[in-house]
Symmetry: C2
Subunit: 238 residues, 2 copies
């Protein structure tokens, strides 16, 4: 038995963030996180409010459900959380997906290593800045980045304020050869007023672009929004 | 003398489109195009209205101007047009940029080959669909894609309507191993009402996402907007 605690399976939709932004993909969201970021937009995966949604599933059953939802219309699966790196059994899901010719993307904050990281096609490590109220374990992060040497991966830091930007820069300078993404934080992950949300997001995005463009110490960077919030607002499972 | 007809040099700003979306980069826009797409958002490069802006510049002078504008704050230069592939001398600009450790991105519609294509780090070939009122020369395009075998490049098709989508699919199926990007067309490249523009762009983007997600024949695709229009509307040179 290699059960995985699954929160939701959905798609096909687009990947809204980071190194595979825009990609048509299915999503598998696992339950549980070792962090509790102040602004977490998936807190239902770890704060108890989504407990009733968790299903313990075998990798093969996850694959069946992906096929049922996505039919023959996808070639990519994104595993997100929570922190999927907490779950050793995700390695078996990865095997099943690979066997079926699927490209795999995964995001984790970089607090914990799994050997199956090596099997991920597009791995995003997303350390959390000060505004999250989490403290980065740089020993763990150094170790992860070091082991991933030469793999197709990237670092992504979500930025809410000036202090976060300083943190992001530190990450970029510490791991200067790793592709580096800055992402605008969503200040308001509960509003249902989409017009207001989008205006706020665009103005924050402009702020982050201006800051980065004016900074001579940050040259090789991609500054991106969360595209799905432009389309679906704060709606879940799209 | 290896003059290049330059329309504008600007930056640092973000790349708003395609395979390097979000990248901090300087821009060099060359004058002249062999196409005259009905919805061209850079028609001032070829329709005479920007004639007074064209400067014949030596590659080294272009580099000096890039440095003057961007200081030490950039490591990437994007060459766009018009169609930069019309200009043989762009090859010498590429040499100058490479010598200075710059990564180079370039976009062309794929109507004409240049040997210096091989030197481009991120090459976007963007054939034009029916709504442009241009006719693709598939012999030329086949030849270009064939020669670029194994290079870091992508195909990008701008989609305005259903017919364009059919064209885009044909391109994807013809060159099925090449990374494939769909981009929403900007119907209204002259309005200065940014709120209205953004609403229109987001609704067209949703339309294109829905269409692509429902299409089992298009699996490995990235569907993207033009990010710069979200930030700067139809403003030029940002
Ligand atoms: S690491 Fe991610 S899932 Fe976990 S609390 Fe932070 S934002 Fe939420
Ligand atoms: S190929 Fe590009 S620059 Fe030339 S007319 Fe078409 S859109 Fe404009």
């Amino acid at each position: 038995m290699s059960k995985i605690p699954v929160m939701e399976i959905f798609g096909p939709t687009i990947q809204g963030e980071g190194m595979v932004i825009g990609q048509k993909t299915m999503f598998v969201r696992t339950a549980g996180c070792d962090y509790s970021c102040s602004w977490c937009d998936s807190s239902f995966t770890w704060d108890g409010t989504g407990k009733h949604l968790i299903t313990q599933m075998e990798p093969e059953d996850i694959w069946q459900q992906l096929k049922q939802l996505g039919g023959n219309g996808f070639s990519s699966v994104t595993i997100s959380g929570g922190n999927p790196a907490l779950i050793k059994n995700v390695g078996e899901l990865i095997e099943v997906l690979k066997k079926n010719g699927i490209k795999i993307a995964l995001e984790t904050q970089g607090s914990k290593w799994q050997d199956w990281f090596h099997e991920i096609d597009e791995l995003t490590i997303s350390p959390k800045p000060h505004s999250s109220q989490m403290i980065t374990d740089f020993k763990a992060l150094d170790d992860i980045i070091h082991r991933l040497n030469k793999q197709n991966m990237s670092l992504k830091v979500v930025v809410f304020n000036d202090e976060d930007y300083v943190y992001a820069k530190k990450i970029h300078q510490r791991y200067s050869t790793v592709p580096f993404f800055l992402q605008v934080g969503n200040d308001d992950s509960s509003t249902t007023d989409d017009t207001q949300l989008i205006q706020g997001l665009i103005s924050k995005y402009s702020w982050l672009i201006e800051k980065t463009m004016a900074d001579d110490e940050v040259k090789n960077v991609k500054v991106l929004p969360q595209l799905h919030t432009y389309i679906w607002g704060n709606k879940r499972g799209v």
